[in-house]
Subunit: 487 residues, 2 copies
């Protein structure tokens, strides 16, 4: 390695202007957002700072005899900038709900308690009118989530969905910061793959048009190709070189289910750590991920969180989140969990059965039983977990695995140590074509692959849990589910 | 909005312990990485700090009569930690190239100039041996890229690919930081869609197994569904609510091309800004994105950059990057570019033709002509750009569009203002079924959608440009291209 070059690289970094001075003459983009205007100090009346132009959409409009008021919103915050229109010429403009406008005027201290400043309009430009008679969302109305789902292209304009999207952005950043700070390397695992890692047979198949444009075939890659159900196997290959890796990636399931909990396309956060030999270390990593990103998101977006607590979540949802942050997560083995469930068999439509996966109502009962705190269920039997979960030497019917169950949502994380013995994993990878597709994965062990462990967290489920969102379809901007792939 | 709740949220953020104290008893993960060991100050001999355990893989092993030396690498840095093995019992262990080991010993100042410290081994645990006879990568050999591509699951273990992956991670973070700092909201645009936004007909089709598990059909979503070729149209829907949005997302093209420049699955960085009316503002945003993320990456990963300059890129590649950072990008209109190209017609296999897209050799010639700096080509004719590019009022044959061309790589960015007039865009969205699929997009204009503008940058092309990587297949961990979807 040539260190002089590295130093050279650093040098011109050092000489460069700070980032915020790099955009020249960007009058439009240099304008403050509504969020910034509302948090900056009120400018002195008549000062240059007080004269501003602000762009956004008309929301919450109301007219009195002499004055029109509306909120100017630009997506930067849950709160709008109150615009006061007294001039009759301006009042006669088509100031309709949802129209895009540019307002120039004076920023003054607001007499109302709700806001620190308001904008007294001197001129208003209608940038694009809203055909408000045809517009599906009505002023001053909060519609049922199903109504918004019928107009996905307009849905981000509804307050709660704009807020959810800001929270998604903040949460994604919190996740990156968590892992980067701990020396994890972000790995873009592939979407197209020949491996169906969970083995559920619920993968989407991919085909392309033949050269003649007429027939769709699967031969583009010369092999059957599916959309990934998880990046885990690929993360393991990367962990065998980079030790600590993670992804934030889309994943797909062709489950023929209609429920509040199913999406065909969703995002997952997965991490894989090499040289890990204790299940306990994995549990601690999951626990600190959930706590740390939640603290970080609340710090980044307190107003949007508060909006969700007041308008979206059930009552007392915030208490669940506070309790999660302030307490150690509970732990129970699958075996002990089964005993507890059996003591309350009469409560379940599907009674628990040893060797079977727990049902959602079992999981939610256990969470409640353990004080409504996140609950790790550990040591699932081999029949419940995919082929790659490591067998517990102390009990070969068990795996060194753990799911994290949270109130209301159910399973949030699934993780395990990975089987690191070549002969064990090779025998579990099946035979014939099936083995051929996974030979590379078994191979990792032949070539100095250390014990690994990792987990996946459903990102939309995390948002459901954090924000108290009832349907998972309302935790992603453009949901896809059985029969629905609009836009 | 209930502000007391927002404050409550802030309060428990404030009370929480700082992130770094949140992991309890994480002895394994709390261990320093090789990168940290090499940059920390040399501990005093015999001190507690000097006694360490470090895990990783054996690289660069050599044996003298009395001593074995190897580099312990753990993926955290390009440089390994030199391990000195003098004890004969340890020397007799199968210390083979590529094996995973855990070494305990004393960290001492190194007599060699290449490194500040070295680890004198007291005990070595072979965590997983490497079957080095079957291992496809040989010690002390740098193979051709094609060799590594045949073993994608092991490729991250080769120095240059581990380094590329660290750079990808650093570059992704730099991109997020650039946009977040400017108030952009990250939007996860969908992979599954009914819209083929570029209109090239080169989209992959998605199908699922029918309930009976036998037949694969397209009816899962009740409509033809493809993998996205770009998230732009969806970003526009989001920009009509959140004003400034971006994504870092996979995209797909079923191009039947074998070349150094084609991937079937790649990552794109796209941004969309609402209320933008000047092409110039878009150009400035692209220019500052490219400069700022490059400065940030060089600051985050100087050693990996230096490694690429010394071992991967052509000579003088670093000068191209320095020049890019220190100079304003050049600009030329499509019309002027065509004149220049016509003055040198004899140099081109495909002579330039008015109204046609420029060929790669035209683009690279123009970049050279303008001093080997990044070059914006602007105002492409309507025949060259997709239906959504805004028509220039000053010349209805032109669009308000710009591609950014960089040395060696060619097109790095494509962008334009978007057509914001409902009647113009509706007429360009086709008719019948075609229009039905894009009706939502045209609709954005009816409902208060302001003028938008945006761009897309090919992420792998950026890495090629930054690091001087010749084939795009070597700029992504698990490449997919015609006939190749291994793993």
């Amino acid at each position: 390695m040539n260190c002089a070059l590295a130093k050279g690289a650093c040098n011109f970094v050092g000489k460069a202007a700070p980032l915020r001075f790099c955009i020249r003459n960007l009058s439009v983009r240099a304008r403050r957002s509504v969020q910034q205007i509302l948090t900056d100090a009120t400018p002195a009346a008549g000062s240059e700072d007080a004269r501003i132009t602000s762009e956004g959409w008309i929301k919450a409009i109301r007219k009195t005899k002499k004055t029109t008021f509306f909120h100017l919103e630009d997506g930067s915050s849950i709160q709008g900038l109150q615009v006061v229109v007294a001039d009759d010429n301006l009042r006669n403009l088509p100031l309709t709900f949802g129209s895009a406008v540019s307002v120039t005027g004076n920023l003054v201290a607001s007499p109302a308690a709700r806001q620190s400043v308001e904008l007294v309009a001197e001129s208003i430009k209608i940038v694009q009118e809203n055909d408000h008679l045809a517009y599906p969302f009505k002023i001053k109305e909060t519609h049922q989530p199903e109504v918004y789902r019928e107009h996905l292209h307009l849905r981000p304009r509804a307050e709660r969905f704009a807020s959810m999207m800001r929270m998604r952005s903040a949460a994604t950043m919190a996740i990156h910061e968590f892992f980067q700070e701990k020396g994890f390397v972000l790995v873009h695992t592939p979407i197209l793959t020949g491996n169906d890692c969970e083995g559920g047979g619920e993968a989407f198949h991919v085909q392309s048009e033949k050269g003649d444009g007429k027939k769709k075939t699967e031969e583009f890659f010369g092999r059957p190709t599916v959309l990934t159900v998880s990046g885990q196997l690929h993360l393991e290959a990367a962990a065998c070189a980079l030790k600590r890796v993670y992804n934030v990636n889309p994943a797909f399931r062709a489950e023929r289910q209609l429920s509040r909990r199913h999406l065909s396309e969703f995002w997952m956060v997965e991490a894989e750590v090499a040289f890990i030999d204790e299940l306990d270390h994995l549990l601690q990593l999951m626990e600190s991920l959930l706590k740390d990103i939640t603290r970080n998101v609340l710090k980044k977006a307190p107003a949007d969180f508060a909006f969700h607590m007041a308008n979206v979540a059930e009552e007392n949802h915030e208490t669940k989140i506070v309790n999660m942050l302030e307490n150690e997560f509970r732990r129970v083995t699958y075996g002990d969990a089964l005993q507890i469930l059996n003591q309350h068999r009469e409560r379940f439509h599907n009674p628990p059965k040893d060797g079977d996966n727990l049902h959602r109502d079992h999981e939610l009962f256990l969470v409640e039983h353990f004080g409504n705190l996140p609950l790790f269920i550990t040591h699932f039997p081999v029949t419940c977990k995919p082929f790659y979960a490591r067998i517990d030497d102390a009990n070969p019917f068990h795996t060194l695995s753990a799911d994290l169950i949270v109130p209301a949502v159910g399973e949030l994380f699934g993780g395990s140590l990975r089987e690191h013995r070549y002969d064990v994993i090779a025998s579990k990878c099946g035979s014939g074509t099936e083995f051929e597709a996974l030979k590379w994965y078994a191979d990792l062990r032949r070539f100095g692959g250390p014990p690994c462990g990792g987990f996946g967290m459903g990102f939309e489920r995390y948002l459901q849990y954090l924000l108290g969102i009832s349907s998972i379809k309302d935790a992603i901007p453009f949901p896809r589910w059985l029969g629905h792939c609009d836009m």
